[in-house]
Amino acid sequence: MSTKQFSTHLIFFLSSFLFFSVTISNAQDAGAGKTIFMSKCASCHNVLKKGTGPALAGLEERHKWADHKELLAWINNPAAYMAKDPYTQGLKAEYGSMMTAFADVTLQDVDNIVAYVNEAAKPAPAPAAGSGEVVEEGGGNSIFFGVISLLLGVIALILMQVNSNLRKLSDQAEGVKTPAGIPFWRNKTYITLISICLFVFGGYMVAKGAIGLGRQKDYQPVQPIYYSHKVHAGINQINCLYCHGSAEQSKHAAIPSVNTCMNCHKAIQAYEKGPKLFDEEGNEIDGTAEIQKLYEYAGFDPDQPNKWDPSMIKKPIEWVKIHNLPDHVYFSHAQHVNAGKVQCQSCHGAINEMGEVKQVADLSMGWCINCHRESNVQFNYDSTKGNKFYSIYEKFHNDLKAGKMDSIKVKDIGGLECQKCHY
């Protein structure tokens, strides 16, 4: 086979390898107010519904709350405010408990929260935008590229055949003797190329399989109770930390104990107003029946809610653990959530849209390391921002001032070192 012939084959092969390009972009639509609302208010308040406290929609029309200073005084010190204010006294009587004080909330924060509440209270609100939401663009482009490459491939094939026939004809015309054609299945070039491709592909698959041993991306086991994060964290906007509070303090995010569930479900005894629930197989789930399962564990009689107390809980719920790390990995939620201010969704995906929880990330070391390469540390660039722990990093402060660095990544403070996670 001539060199020329070989190169045409090569072109054919190369042209058949095509790559799809998918552009991913994150929608960032979380206002400052929403952040504060989620972290401070959401465990008791909902915008549209009554929870432990009143629904906040339209709060500016009620009482003196149009004046945000009044609102601030109430939030900062409810006890003091209520002492002289019959309206809030009425609230306490209605809801049975006094509002928690948030002394660190500022007027700016109140403005932001109210802005968020007003926006969220608008009729036909936009679907809750989770930060893990993925918008896929350019799908049409890929099809377009695919069609073009297919066409080009066919054209190349036709041209090659034409070329080969023309050469045969010209050879015949010139009287050059052509050797008998070798069928393509005995063509050594084809065989070699195919074997190489198979070897590379096979090797890639084996290596990928081996690396993936023990990893369980997309793991979505059936749990003892159909607990929907979509209903709780998504629709009802309960702050993640209300249930997984130890994520701020401990290495474990910890699954809430039954008494935490019962804080709300003593009152919420049925699933009524939300959208229909379906499991992965598409069967409809009866939300009220699932709440009944919780009552089995809690030893709770819905007809006599006031007789129940946490000491009556019968047994803990045996959830199936989804996110498993090998024993030689030390992972601390507190480090990431509290010190690093990483959003839950960064690792757990759009958990607020999941009916049953599914492992989104593969939890591989490469995945961890990549994030450590790219993420910024909560560095105290100045006295108002960041974590003061980093004030001892004198070198970095100098480099930042001198413009040698523009941000401090986790890798800069040793985030890629083995012993950060393995000890």
């Binding site: 041993l213 719920i317 959830w319 070192e417």
Partner: protein, 1067 residues
């Protein structure tokens, strides 16, 4: 002029050829290839086929493993989470370690419901947060597989007798009540020293009970002597910190005598040196064998154990200015006179203690303390201690009563006379005469085995309780875990049987609320762990009435010739309570460096004369035969009709006719796999002299003509003739030549640190081809004061507990496979010509030095060990493939290889028993029991077979401290991050912190001690992050340094000694 020599083993002191050869290899074994027949890989019988077999097996195994399903794991939260408990965050509870009268206030670290580590309680003034090896190891006792798990009673007689479970305590109470009623006679409660006020109140309310306290090692002589000299039957508080001169007559006050943690704190405070004005306490030791305390002495003189009384008398006469009367040995006499001169000079600031249980000797010692004005200054009678209360005569009387049949019921708690009593056979016979015998022991010990009823009590970490170590001091015990087994506090039994239906928990609370007046006060002590209240205690006044008779008795006692035995306690095993604890058994003894068993310590002279082992000037072959095989010659020790065969260990500094044997070994095999068959019970050599129990005696020794293995660890790793490992000097030298160490550093700086243009010097960056590491934030560093370290081993056990360091058992220690991340090297200092003439001992805790230019990092083929940006030499177990290149290249010999699956962490379950390693000791299996594994620290990876491990600077603690600071949005404060060894140390010898912080303690200690601070093997330019402060002995000897640039005193180099000039002698 003499040569000084620092040595760890006899081969080293004599520089034998095979010693050098042996130490060329880090690991002494050949690689264990099967079927190689030592012919090399190519000539092996079937290397290719074997290779293919292994390859095939591993592929098949991998395929199998790959096809296995990932197990479903459950996450089970609390049903009702208690407030303040966060899963994954450790809680600390203040409680108290109490054992046989010893009291150490501690904090128990409880992680997710399991106590996993003991820390000292730094609210306690007299321990200052210090601990001992036994305190550190006590948490492992909680998870001992051989604890008694339910109440039981003996059924059947004679050979047929066995224990059967009694289903409930109600039934048990009824059984015992009936038995007590049926037995008639008197009821006797036999305990070790009890210092719990509430328990004493319970006993006082028990109708007709007689309480006898019995100590395994008695302090009866001291108690009676104090009574005879006008202070009452009490023991005083000793203020070692206030003493400038300390004379100990055979008292091992740093290792085993009375309250070592407390004394070590005071003692080491006086040993720390301020460089600007160098001074330190002076410690004289007179003893027959080399004790842990004697090893720290500035001047040490040997005497026969039987001479202790005479030495005390001579010291008394010398203190009163009459010279050391009655001492023939010139050296000893000079020593006594010198000590007396110093004592006199420091009247009111000196202290004499004596380890003897002989009342007469202690009367004389009290006379000395009176003469030197110690009372009220270094000995505080206003705060008497309650550590020991047993009187020998009381117990003798009890045995007589038992024999006479007047005792109907015997209740035993904490005492174990069948094991510890000098005439155990008589006690056992007497015990059989008692109708009802009840034991409250946690384990089936020797005495419990002979009892009818067993009501096992709780471990202290499961108990409520209190202890009063000293007058006015109360330390509470609170439970940190629900009792693991069906056990009950012994006080509850006493309450029930005396007609009080309260449990001890309720009684305890009511008692203290009554005492303190309010529940708040009770809760405060519970929280703090300890309350120290000044109590008006009558100090008593000294009376000399008993002195003349005591002196008379001492002088008329016949002089002893021939061989004497002295029985001592190891800091780890104690009286035998530590024998069931694997961590303590594996802890090498401070002086002998031997673990797992006892042996007879003999002098080198005796080894030569009796056994023909010439270690003083013998041939190389002779020394090697003794030194390099774990097999040691066995001697037969005979005293009266009792005999025992024990292997010998020759150590320098022994009185030449004295042998020393540790107590506490040879326990019953029913106490567990740990202590079964380990050592021999030396209590058989104790005797009743009529004047208290004696822990010494006259014996005959003979060569038994055979050998036994002794598991010693020190000779495993040496530095191959490298100098500057230990630096030791005398106080006089430090004053005269203060800059020996800085001079050496300057020499290195000038020789190797010159920059290319020759203008500036920087040893750190110029001395290497490698790039230097940058630590932008924190750089961790450690400093160890060798002057404070006395070799107790608390740090070693703390490291075991904190870092899940495996226990390997005797067979593996014998094969040099011990896994300690932190070891305490012991160096003898002596004349090169006469190794038996001991000048001193240096203890050097040695762990990974976290070198900034680490030789291990360069040679790892898989980069499993590398450097962190905080200056830590990291070790990644899951990346390690076990080439052991790093260990070979480590100049400090601190890397440890997992030769077998010691921890049960391997995926293949039977990896512990196979041809390569051989069957491991039962103790390894015990450590891998599901129950025992509860002690593991969940924050530290449990290493599997085939990987290297080493000190990590307790990285998990550093991370935790940093996280706390980040959570609180503040910089890390100095002292927040502490290593386990640092917190365990009673001497505060270890300082740890951020070197980059100019205000940290570690920066200060290095800056304030420039003349003593050095790095081990500094000239290798490995740039360690652990610095040491040179050991200083307080003597007048001036070591002349020949040349300032040469390496100072260290093994292999020579220094001149000159006699102190008169002006230098009186500093």
């Amino acid at each position: 002029m003499s040569q000084k020599k620092y040595w760890q083993s006899f081969g080293e002191v004599n520089e034998s050829e095979s010693f050098k050869q042996q130490n060329q290899d880090e690991f002494r074994e050949e690689l264990p290839f099967e079927g190689m027949d030592n012919k090399g890989l190519l000539d092996a019988t079937a290397p290719r086929r074997d290779f293919l077999k292994y390859l095939g097996f591993s592929t098949a195994a991998a395929t199998l493993a790959a096809s296995c399903k990932i197990p479903v794991k459950k996450a089970i939260p609390f049903a009702n989470r208690p407030e303040n408990i966060i899963p994954g965050v450790a809680q600390y509870y203040a409680t108290t370690f109490v054992q046989e009268g010893d009291v150490v206030p501690v904090l128990a670290k409880v992680r997710d419901g399991r106590p996993i580590k003991i820390e000292g309680n730094d609210r306690c003034a007299f321990t200052g947060g210090g601990t001992s090896a036994r305190v550190q190891a006590s948490v492992l006792d909680l998870y001992d597989t051989h604890r008694l798990r339910f109440p039981q009673q003996k059924v059947g007689n004679g050979e047929e007798a066995r224990f059967e479970e009694v289903p409930t305590y109600e039934q048990m109470d009824k059984l015992v009540a009936d038995a007590i009623k049926a037995a008639g006679g008197s009821t006797v409660l036999l305990t070790s020293t009890l210092n719990s006020p509430s328990t004493k109140a319970i006993i006082a309310a028990y109708p007709g009970i007689r309480h006898v306290q019995y100590d395994a090692v008695s302090f009866s002589g001291m108690l009676l002597a104090n009574e005879a000299t006008g202070f009452g039957r009490r023991l005083p508080s000793y203020e070692f910190g206030a003493a400038k001169v300390i004379v100990s007559l055979g008292a091992d006050f740093l290792g085993s005598w009375l309250s070592p943690v407390e004394f070590a704190k005071g003692y080491t405070a006086g040993r720390k040196i301020d460089e600007k004005n160098p001074s330190m306490s002076k410690h004289y030791q007179f003893e027959g064998y080399l004790s842990l305390t004697g090893a720290s002495a500035d001047e040490r003189f040997v005497c026969r154990p039987s001479e202790t009384g005479l030495v005390a008398l001579a010291l008394l006469s010398a203190v009163s200015g009459k010279g050391a009367e009655g001492i023939k040995d010139a050296k000893l006499k000079a020593g006594i006179e010198k000590a007396a001169a110093d004592l006199r000079k420091n009247t009111g600031a000196s202290l004499v203690v004596c380890g003897s249980n002989d009342t007469n000797t202690q009367v004389v010692v009290n006379a000395i303390n009176q003469a030197i004005g110690a009372y009220g200054k270094t000995i505080d009678w206003g705060k008497p201690v309650n550590y020991r209360a047993g009187i020998d005569a009381d117990f003798e009387q009890l045995v007589k009563d038992m024999e006479a049949g007047s005792v109907g019921t015997l209740l035993v708690y904490g005492a174990n006379p069948v094991y510890t009593y000098h005439n155990a056979a008589a006690f056992k016979t007497a015990l059989k005469k008692i109708k009802t015998t009840v034991s409250f022991s946690e384990r089936l010990d020797e005495t419990t085995e002979c009892c009818q009823f067993i009501l096992p009590s709780n471990h202290y970490l499961e108990s409520w309780g209190d202890a009063s170590p000293k007058a006015g001091v109360t330390s509470f015990i609170q439970p940190t875990i629900y009792p693991l087994f069906k056990t009950r506090a012994f006080q509850t039994s006493l309450l029930k049987w005396s007609g009080n239906d309260n449990s001890y928990e309720e009684y305890f609370k009511q008692y203290w609320i009554g005492q303190l007046g309010a529940e708040d006060a009770f809760n405060t002590i519970l929280q703090e762990g300890i309350q120290d209240k000044a109590l008006p205690v009558s100090a008593g006044s000294y009376s000399s009435t008993a002195l003349a008779a005591a002196a008379q008795a001492i002088t008329t006692a016949a002089a002893v010739t021939g061989t004497e035995i002295v029985l001592y306690q190891k800091a780890s095993i104690g009286t035998g309570t530590g024998a069931t604890n694997p961590w303590l058994q594996e802890l090498p003894d401070g002086v002998s460096k031997a673990s797992w068993g006892n042996y007879a310590l003999v002098s080198m002279t005796m080894a030569k004369e009796l056994l023909g082992v010439n270690l003083i000037d013998g041939t190389e072959k002779e020394i090697n035969n003794y030194e390099f095989y774990p097999l040691k010659p066995v001697i037969k020790i005979t005293m009266g009709g009792k005999e025992m065969e024990l292997p010998v260990l020759a150590v320098p500094g022994m009185q030449s006719n004295t042998i020393a044997v540790a107590l506490g070994y040879g326990r019953s095999e029913k106490l567990g796999r740990t202590c079964a068959g380990v050592g021999k019970n030396a209590y058989i050599f104790t005797s009743q002299t009529g004047n208290g129990v004696s822990y010494q005696g006259i014996v005959t020794v003979a060569d038994a003509g055979r050998k036994e293995k002794v598991a010693q660890s020190q000779i495993h790793n040496t530095y191959d003739d490298r100098v500057e490992v230990v630096r030791e000097t005398t106080l006089a030298t430090l004053v005269k030549h203060p800059t020996v160490i800085p001079d050496y550093r300057n020499h290195l700086e000038e020789t190797y640190g010159k920059s290319k243009d020759g203008k500036t010097t920087d040893y750190r960056s110029e001395g290497t081809l490698y790039p230097t590491h940058v630590q932008p934030g924190i750089k961790w560093g450690m400093n160890i004061d060798m002057n404070a370290c006395y070799g107790c081993g608390a740090c070693v056990v703390a490291c075991h507990a904190e870092n899940n360091v495996p226990v390997v058992g005797k067979s593996e220690v014998l094969r040099y496979h011990d896994m300690h991340w932190l070891r305490i090297d012991r160096y003898f200092v002596s004349d090169a010509t006469n190794p038996d003439e001991l000048k001193g001992v240096v203890f050097q805790p040695m762990m990974c030095q976290h070198c900034d230019n680490a030789p291990c990092e360069n040679v790892c083929p898989v980069a499993a060990t590398n450097h962190s940006s905080e200056g830590i030499n990291q070790m990644t177990y899951n990346r390690c493939i076990g080439t052991r290149y790093c260990a070979n290249n480590c100049p400090y010999k601190v890397r440890r290889f997992n030769w077998a699956d010691y921890t049960g962490a391997d995926s293949f379950p039977n990896n512990r028993d196979q041809q390569l390693v051989g069957k491991l000791d039962p103790v390894v299996e015990q450590m891998n029991d599901e129950l025992t594994r509860m002690v593991l620290n969940p924050d530290v990876t449990v290493r599997s077979r085939g990987v290297i491990e080493k000190c990590s600077f307790c990285f998990q603690r550093l991370q935790a401290a940093k996280l706390e600071a980040k959570k609180a949005n503040r910089p890390l404060q100095d002292g927040e991050a502490k290593t386990a060894c640092q917190t365990a140390c009673a001497a505060n010898a270890i300082v740890f912190g951020n070197v980059n912080d100019p205000n940290s303690a570690i920066t200060a200690v290095r800056a304030n001690n420039t003349n003593r601070s050095y790095y081990v093997l500094e000239q290798l330019h490995v740039l360690p992050n652990v610095s040491y402060l040179a050991k200083v002995r307080n003597t007048d000897e001036v070591l002349e340094v020949e040349e300032h640039h040469a390496a100072p005193a260290a093994h292999g180099t020579e220094t001149k000694h000159e006699t102190a000039k008169p002006e230098a002698a009186h500093h």
